[in-house]
């Protein structure tokens, strides 16, 4: 899981593209960007190839805009921001997750960009509980003590797949990815004792 988000920018105006990049850079979120300034025949194919987290799209450049392509029918993946004027028709606006009105003031633009990036970064749920659940704590303890996913699955009578899901959630909530990092966390928070762990 990389921190750098991937952005697809489809907009004919050079000035607007540069302005958007300035706006993005001021958010302090590392990103890499692919830019297109010409009409797009096949948005599905493009989105599939680039696999972006965020699409900044001027709908004028899409030849037939019917549906915005999504991964796994998940509504926010990728996250679509429409680059349109305030008087654009509602049925166009309604397709996007967010509208960036090109006449808006700087503070408004910043606010929208910040909100969008936060949504993308947090796995797309706005009001997520970031503290660990009971189940996650018991799994974290077993991970920190050096158990493999299969061993944890056996001990807790759940599938290895479920263990994986819990581990992903633990990593997302804590911001700690490695087993030794999780072990340090568990000891600092007195979930396990130092003496219980081998080789820390």
């Amino acid at each position: 899981m990389s921190n750098r988000i991937c952005i697809l920018l489809i907009e004919p105006s050079f000035l607007i593209r540069e302005g958007l990049k300035t706006l993005l850079s001021s958010q302090g979120q590392p990103y890499r960007i692919e830019e297109f300034d010409a009409p797009v025949d096949d948005l599905d194919k493009l989105v599939n190839r680039i696999n972006p987290d965020l699409v900044l799209l001027n709908p004028k450049l899409v030849i037939r805009l019917i549906n915005l392509p999504r991964r796994n029918e998940n509504i926010f993946e990728p996250y679509y921001i429409g680059l349109i004027e305030s008087d654009a028709p509602t049925h166009i606006k309604g397709k996007f997750d967010q509208i960036l009105n090109l006449d808006a003031e700087k503070s408004e633009l910043n606010k929208i960009m910040e909100k969008s990036l936060r949504l993308i970064h947090n796995g797309n749920s706005e009001t997520e509980n970031t503290s660990l659940s009971e189940r996650e704590i018991s799994i974290l303890k077993l991970v920190a003590l050096g158990n493999t996913n299969n061993e944890i699955a056996d001990k807790l009578f759940i599938s290895a797949h479920t263990v994986m899901t819990h581990r992903k959630n633990i990593t997302r909530k804590l911001g700690i990815k490695t087993v030794s990092g999780l072990t340090v966390y568990a000891i600092l928070n007195q979930l396990i004792k130092l003496e219980e762990v081998q080789g820390v």
Partner: protein, 249 residues
Amino acid sequence: MRINKDLKMAEVIHMNHHLLPVLNRFDIYLGFGERTVEVVCKDHKINLNFFLEIVNTFHDPTYFPLRHLQSFKASMLIEYLRKTHSYYLDVKIPEIGQYISEIVQCSGFEENHRNLVKNFFDQYRRELTNHINKEEQGVYPYVLRLEKVLDSPRSSQETFDDLHKYSINEYEEDHDDVESKLFDLKNILIKYLPPVSNYKLLNLILHEIFELESDLNNHGHIEDLILVPIVENMEKEFHSRFANHGSNV
């Protein structure tokens, strides 16, 4: 803004002072006066295009080096990458290691937490060192041999056989776990370590880790965007010129 040959070197540092260690790797140090990038490069006998590609890749993460890829040699790039490695292993890592040894001795640290943080960092240091050694002992010698053969094809059959066997793409491995450890260390310090008395030192450690992380990211970026394409081109040339020199043909 793109860094170009006519900018004053002093202006480059005003634009982005994080470039200072990068300049040091070219043996360029402060005290530029009014000299431009071009003049400073000339004074230091540095290939101007190469310098510009490196600083621009560092300065702007979205910059994509393309234009001058053919105009400098892989050995030049490897010399730069080796200097970067030695900056990590000989300067930055010992520095951060020293700070961490100091911070775990200060009050506020529980006795049994002292080794915890230190050992975690030592683990990271070992993994980074291993990763760097793999590049220095495997990838770079391969690239340098390839370059030598293309420059003067009088080499032993053994060399040709070896070069036919490998490809840069085999070396393209993910740096995932090494990166993740540094990422974890940041969050442990930011979120989970109880407050300590010497908060200034802790601030400094965190600052140093952020700097190291972005330098490492840039290093990987240069490997992926400059080194790998150059070597892929060299391999293409090698296979078309010496298709008959391999024993497997």
